[in-house]
Symmetry: C3
Subunit: 375 residues, 3 copies
Amino acid sequence: AWKGAPEFKGDNGWSFKPRGRLQLDAGGVDAPSGLDETSSNHLGVSTELRRAYLGFDGTMPGGFGYRFEVDLANSSVAINDMYLTYRVNPKITLALGNQKPNTGLEDQTSDLFTSFMERAAFTGAFGFERRVGLNAQYLGKDVVLQGGVFSDDPNSLNSDYDKSWSVDGRAVYMPKLAGGTLHLGGSVHWRTLNDSITTVTYQSRPFVHTTDLRLLSGGVTGATNELGLGLEAAWIKGRFHASGESYWQKVRRTGFADPTFNGGYAEVGYMLTHDETAYKNGVFERIRPHDGFDKGGLGAVQLNVRYDWLNLNDAGIVGGREQTAGISAIWMPTDYVRFILNYGHIWVKDSPVLVNGTDGTYGVDSMGMRAQFDF
Amino acid sequence: AWKGAPEFKGDNGWSFKPRGRLQLDAGGVDAPSGLDETSSNHLGVSTELRRAYLGFDGTMPGGFGYRFEVDLANSSVAINDMYLTYRVNPKITLALGNQKPNTGLEDQTSDLFTSFMERAAFTGAFGFERRVGLNAQYLGKDVVLQGGVFSDDPNSLNSDYDKSWSVDGRAVYMPKLAGGTLHLGGSVHWRTLNDSITTVTYQSRPFVHTTDLRLLSGGVTGATNELGLGLEAAWIKGRFHASGESYWQKVRRTGFADPTFNGGYAEVGYMLTHDETAYKNGVFERIRPHDGFDKGGLGAVQLNVRYDWLNLNDAGIVGGREQTAGISAIWMPTDYVRFILNYGHIWVKDSPVLVNGTDGTYGVDSMGMRAQFDF
Amino acid sequence: AWKGAPEFKGDNGWSFKPRGRLQLDAGGVDAPSGLDETSSNHLGVSTELRRAYLGFDGTMPGGFGYRFEVDLANSSVAINDMYLTYRVNPKITLALGNQKPNTGLEDQTSDLFTSFMERAAFTGAFGFERRVGLNAQYLGKDVVLQGGVFSDDPNSLNSDYDKSWSVDGRAVYMPKLAGGTLHLGGSVHWRTLNDSITTVTYQSRPFVHTTDLRLLSGGVTGATNELGLGLEAAWIKGRFHASGESYWQKVRRTGFADPTFNGGYAEVGYMLTHDETAYKNGVFERIRPHDGFDKGGLGAVQLNVRYDWLNLNDAGIVGGREQTAGISAIWMPTDYVRFILNYGHIWVKDSPVLVNGTDGTYGVDSMGMRAQFDF
């Protein structure tokens, strides 16, 4: 079978499929004049390889399976999904290795299928990343339950000084409702830094990833542990979807007050062509155009609008606040090729990046384009 | 079908092929005694993994295709060809991503099929490299036209400060002539550094890549843009080929005179065995021995001689001048395995690498060997 | 055919197989209190990706073959096996490229099939590693002969200053004896640093690799060459195996006495399930459980105990001495999945890592767990 690349199947449960992905971005950021020189250099139009994944998927006799994938986009090796799985029964799967902790709807959705080039600001800000751990998933008819124990990301684990670990869980209820699918979910994250890390830094890029500018940035010293709570809701029906999340991250500190930061988004999207938004098992999936280039058509087009917020001010920490209004157009000429054009306006308050050395309240415009294929 | 590795094909235009390449070099450089210690340490015999490519090629329904390839030889990740293609019609193809700008005959020819272990000195000196961009190619019966817009190489793009971009075009006319194929071509390169890069450095290794010595090196400060012009000619008939290129690179500077540097080569080659040199669509291709090891024979052998020159002296810049006489023997026991032995004598003038602290005019001998396979 | 991943075969000797491997480790080290802070930070429980291999194997018409493999576990590229082979006849094979020099039984055995998570202390201490070279192997009915010339590892070769090279040979005699197989072997290593390297450092981790602590460490300055001698013995019959090695490494120095260091191990292992230990052609091989998960069984279990020693004290160098008693349990639910649990107690003497700033004689406990799959 062809799933972008050929999937080979053998007797007794053998299967094997190469995996690859390229996301090529161009983006531009426009901010008020008067930023310091270092920040100004981050403005303007830049291009980057956003992601360049290479790897393999497979299953083996006896219920085992694996994914082995790295991201080479930054001319370096970033370990991506890299784990061994065991299928206890048709509903329960264990995964051991580097994987996403059980974060929320948008973070669990593949970056191939998000509605905008980048996920919501809080996702990057609160340090969501793949970590090495043991995870269990129960997949019922209209319920997903996930829970696991994690250490840190593989690169951080290159230092044996890092003794941090976390417990992460998520629950999703996804009944049919009014001809569509309702998605309600929540996640909890508790992480001890275990005296081996003492500062956590939360920061965010302005809507696109092509720039290294961080309009919001808050460093929390004396940190001992993190407690995160996420709420998710969505409704998907045919061409239409609406979704939203809110996430609270609290940091325990020794000798200081404990700040709680919050971020989230609300979004609606609509297919302009007679195609369906794809959702399954608690995440958004690949949209398959009815009339793609491969059938002589022009493919599928989706429009999305989003409101996104992030607040890194609390308990004496002033990392800044931002609200973003975003709009995106996604063109999928075939199942495995996608182009995104998106624009966001960001209202910033209390930013550590100052205009004329004094003003942390201003507006920023961000524009981005992406070309993508995967197999 | 087997093309080194298996190529898998499916209905509707699906195809997929793994790609790999290893070039293992040994080389030695002999220079007059009296070089400073740092330079002397670069002399003598060294071995290196010259190239170690890993990747995939594929095509997808709807006219799309891709190449995904990295070079891991330096124990690091160098992004190689990494792009999405779209076939507008049988003659016109677009490519978006990291690829070679439309440079000359030898640079466009795969490093698997060059006549010497390394390309002409000007290729490395003038900074030919893959860059991220959008390129179009028209392939007619005896014409190739290429044109595109490019930013920088992926590693440089990791800094969002880099705002340089270029326009690169090439035209080739390749009619049948006197029982062989004539190749006439030209290329133009215009690159603005866009105030984000201010110095360009042109330098070259002495004929082999196993050493890090640069006998010629010229740094041009205050640079604002580059203008390059290349001319190509070749004639290929059966066992024989002759080829040559000349390339002029001009650097615009603020507050200084604008230097124009030049380099090129002229070469003839002959198959000692009853095999044919391979040329197609504006580049040299894989030579396939009639009597390879796989058929009980000894494979194909090609002899090449070359004159190569590079002049990095102009407008007050003294990067040095060099002329090289080179000879190579290439043994191809099968289609996908190749051994090269080559020797070059280099006459250097005005080199920044001095003998006894004063003399920049001397001779250098370089010897190199390569073992190579690919799939 | 499926060998973890599909192996593709074509006419005339074509074949191709993807290769991958993941080893995920958790380990803990417990030492007396009173270590300096840097050393103390290496203690406690850590996790790491021990190995993450990605690559390809293949054969080509005409007797050629290759392996191309990298280790990405440290979020960087380490070149692994990467070579071209040529089969002169059914008994003699040449290999050119990065490969293991002809070291001893345990080092030649794949890390997939060792009896403990880590090889014997001397293997790491004496700098066994893959190097770029040309090697020949003769494989007779009960004899293996290996000999080759090597430069250095690919990463070191990135510096063209490195002119070191070595000659390495190994001979194994493996007759049937008393219903089992006897293994007797020896290896010789001679390496000149060729005035391009002047210090060699021998050191070892405490039984597990998850820590960066080195209880033993000896730097030998003024080194000019290394002479190594290894002896190997084993007997394998059905469920049982016993094996042992001893290795002497002598360093020639200018202006100092020449130290000779020694290390080795003796081990016995037994399959608790009705399975056989696997040995072939001078190395241990993959154990294939009779009743694996794929057949409704529980897989194979092996118990191993080992005594390991290392002495880095000689001729005025005081790198320390250690003896380790180790025990391991290996569970193989299927041919391609393996879990290891092992524990070691280490008696250290003259360690450069001091307790309370003065005491180099103490005991250390190490515990480790591994999950592994490969294809």
